[in-house]
């Protein structure tokens, strides 16, 4: 995908209503999660205001070849509302932390969306036909005068304008004391797990009043707490395996067959600390912000503050590959700690064939690493550089004071308020979705549409 580096921007879709480039946005418009469904036909985004917007890919049509693959808004709904916890006098944010699609089993689509405390299952269904020709009601629904009915007819289904209906089917509430950071649907398509800072619960999709606690790392005395859970995911094929990451940079693979409570891990993935690279911030930058199984199920991709690592499930001692995402920040850790940027949680993504990994960075940059060729590229998601059909230009960050080529950007000029935390890759094709604050960018590699 990366060579030649030609990523075509096929569409820019913004969630804010004003299309002007410099329209101000409200905080509620900040996108907080992005997720393709299992076929890639639908793309869901969640924002800080609790809304979910689903995009659908336009089917290819011969008449308009250039509209192939464009994503347009399919449905918008309010998933979560702000709540108030009366017991603790705390407000519960409506921000959508994660969305996960269920594999499609019938005509409707299902997705799970979660805020800090409550997970909801939504059914997304289409209605494009409606019955017409009732005997007792007229077209507007008014009851007919029986005396006017002279013959009986069978109502027929007539096509109508497509209507997308979204309805909440399940609400999984009151199971988390701490903030939910991950949800993951199991490969058995019947259960899913939700993880907060200290616990992981296993749910059945049909049962909302009960969940099993499968991981609990809460110490007896909270004063002893030194580690929290940062992300969790089920294995894509083995319904008994899941992995969770911690703020200390460790990954634990657990097998639910071993015990009801999976506090004891089956495998512990941890890279020994490099003593020469030790600093005051070693622990903070080692905190894993995202973990993703590869599609094959053989590898794990993790993201910590400065690197992305690929782990082999069979090797616990160290990662298979380590990719420096923005090592130029290593000398800036002090400032980044002061302005809190060091706590940013970046997500990471695999491509469909597990050959390329992608993750976001600052200044609206995102990075892609080809695992086979070892080549990498830095691209920018911004309005200026992303006119429709434009080719994205690779960017380069140079160290302050270093030799600077044209178009390079110096480390000191990076905008740390523009961070790309959420990215998603189409499951089969070279299409990526990048969330930059309140804007969603969708890029497509037109030349190399197929994965290789």
């Amino acid at each position: 995908m990366l060579s030649p580096i030609q990523v075509l921007c096929s569409d820019i879709t913004t969630l804010s209503l004003e299309p002007e480039p410099f329209a101000s946005y409200t905080e509620a418009d900040i996108i907080s999660t992005v997720e393709f469904n299992h076929t890639g036909e639908l793309l869901a985004t969640g924002d800080k205001g609790g809304r979910v917007v689903i995009f659908q890919r336009e089917p290819e049509s011969k008449s308009e070849p250039f509209s192939q693959g464009e994503y347009n808004v399919y449905s918008t709904f309010q998933s979560h509302e702000p709540e108030f916890d009366y017991l603790k006098s705390l407000e519960i944010e409506e921000k959508i932390n994660k969305i996960r699609w269920l594999p499609q089993q019938n005509a409707a689509q299902f997705l799970l969306s979660t805020n800090d405390k409550t997970i909801k299952l939504w059914k997304v269904s289409e209605r494009d036909k409606r019955p017409e020709g009732y005997n007792l009601k007229d077209e507007e629904g008014r009851i007919k005068d029986i005396s006017t009915v002279t013959s009986l007819q069978v109502p027929v289904l007539m096509p109508m304008d497509l209507m997308v209906e979204v309805s909440p089917r399940r609400v999984f509430a009151n199971a988390h004391t701490y903030h939910v950071n991950s949800i993951s649907v199991n490969s058995d398509y019947m259960t899913y797990m939700s993880a907060d800072d200290l616990r992981i619960n296993l749910w059945h999709l049909d049962i909302t009043d009960r969940s099993f606690n499968i991981v609990d790392i809460k110490p007896v005395n909270m004063e002893d707490l030194t580690e929290v859970i940062t992300a969790a995911e089920f294995h894509p094929h083995h319904c008994n395996l899941f992995v969770y990451s911690s703020s200390k940079g460790t990954l634990r693979l657990c097998d639910m067959r071993e015990a009801a409570l999976c506090d004891k891990h089956s495998k512990l993935f941890e890279e020994p600390e490099d003593p020469s690279a030790r600093s005051f911030f070693s622990e903070i930058i080692s905190s894993v912000s995202d973990v993703k199984f590869s599609h094959s199920g053989r590898y794990l991709l993790t993201r910590d503050y400065l690197t992305a690592k690929v782990w082999d499930l069979n090797m616990e001692s160290k990662p298979l590959e380590t990719y420096q995402v923005h090592d130029y920040l290593r000398s800036k850790l002090c400032s980044l700690y002061e302005n809190d940027c060091i706590f940013d949680k970046f997500e990471c993504a695999w491509n469909g064939s597990d050959s390329v990994i992608m993750t976001g960075a600052y200044n609206n940059f995102f990075r892609m690493f080809d695992r086979n060729t070892k080549r990498d590229v830095t691209l920018e998601a911004s309005r200026e550089s992303s006119k429709p059909r434009a080719v994205l230009k690779p960017r380069r960050v140079c160290a302050a004071g270093g030799k600077r080529r044209k178009d390079d950007i110096s480390v000191d000029s990076l905008d740390f308020t523009k961070k790309i935390l959420h990215t998603a890759w189409h499951p089969n094709e070279n299409i990526i979705a990048i969330a930059a604050t309140n804007n969603l960018y969708i890029f497509q590699d037109k030349l190399n549409s197929e994965m290789h």
Binding site: M222, E223, S279, F280
Partner: protein, 351 residues
Amino acid sequence: MIMKGQKRKHPPEDVEVSDPSSPTWESQRQFVFSVSLNKYQRGQELPEPSLRRSVLIANTLRQVSREARRVPSVDVEVPPPLCSSSSELQESTLTGVAPAKPPSAVMFSNSHSALVSCPVVSLNNLSNCDTSRSPATCHLSALNVPLSVKDEDEDWGSMSTDSDFSLSAAISSILTALDSTIDGSPQAAPRTPLRSLENLSGPSDGGVAWGKQAVRGNGGSWEQQEEWRVPESSVEVMRSSFLSELTVEDLFQDIDTSLLERDMGVLGLRGSGGGYQAGDDLLRYLQPFSSSFPPSNPFSVSLNQNLKCLPSFSSFCPLSSSSSSLPAFSSPNLVREGLELEHLMEILVES
């Protein structure tokens, strides 16, 4: 993010300054420490702090404190790690509060109780009070509720404010250092220089570790009652020793102790007798330090040298009235430490 009265500095860059002997390391360590402390306190003030963030900041604070102790330039013997110092304190509370110990024992239990109430409460709030009925949480939430156990409980509960806690923490740490030196063991860590601030960093740190340790030592039954009992016995012993009263009062003569008064009152520490020479001597040493301190030195949290001057009290205890045995100190260090103490107090009082 900037401490009051402190000039804003460009944060020291660290190009992998992992070498403690490098000159920038210390300044960076101090910077990180102060920033972490600020962040942690600010985080605690939020209605719902992020647990991950708080844990990371607390761990960083702990690490920075540990590093400070490791550094040879700061003149400290390798101090015992946090838990052992906690157990040391626990011992001091439990092993019959000997006459020589009262000041620290009392203050320990004073601050210890306050610490137990405050930091644990705050961390529990942080953790969004579990609905599960674990003893720790029971204990904590009980603190916020008027207790029928003792009248004092309500006092403690209401005093569980950050400022009280901070002050008590600082005080207790200084006095426990005093205590440990009074113990007579030469290696009894001049209490680690950052002890007081570790306690500040609070719930996840030394302060409540003490509570936990002491509680365990007390037999682990309904923890509440055990803790409250400790101050009582200490008060008894304390009252019989004028040394302690004077020590405490004089030590903090130049520090706003209005918040302390309540604590003191409860423990009967008020109304100390005439100026005990030991206390006066200490003050004479402390005061000049603060005024003559050159402004160019960065805020340093190593109170070690300060604590080292406290051992002078051990030579006075319990019956000695001579003030002549105060050891000679190297003044630059003490000067610095003196200002550090003052800065520390400033920050704590404000917060």
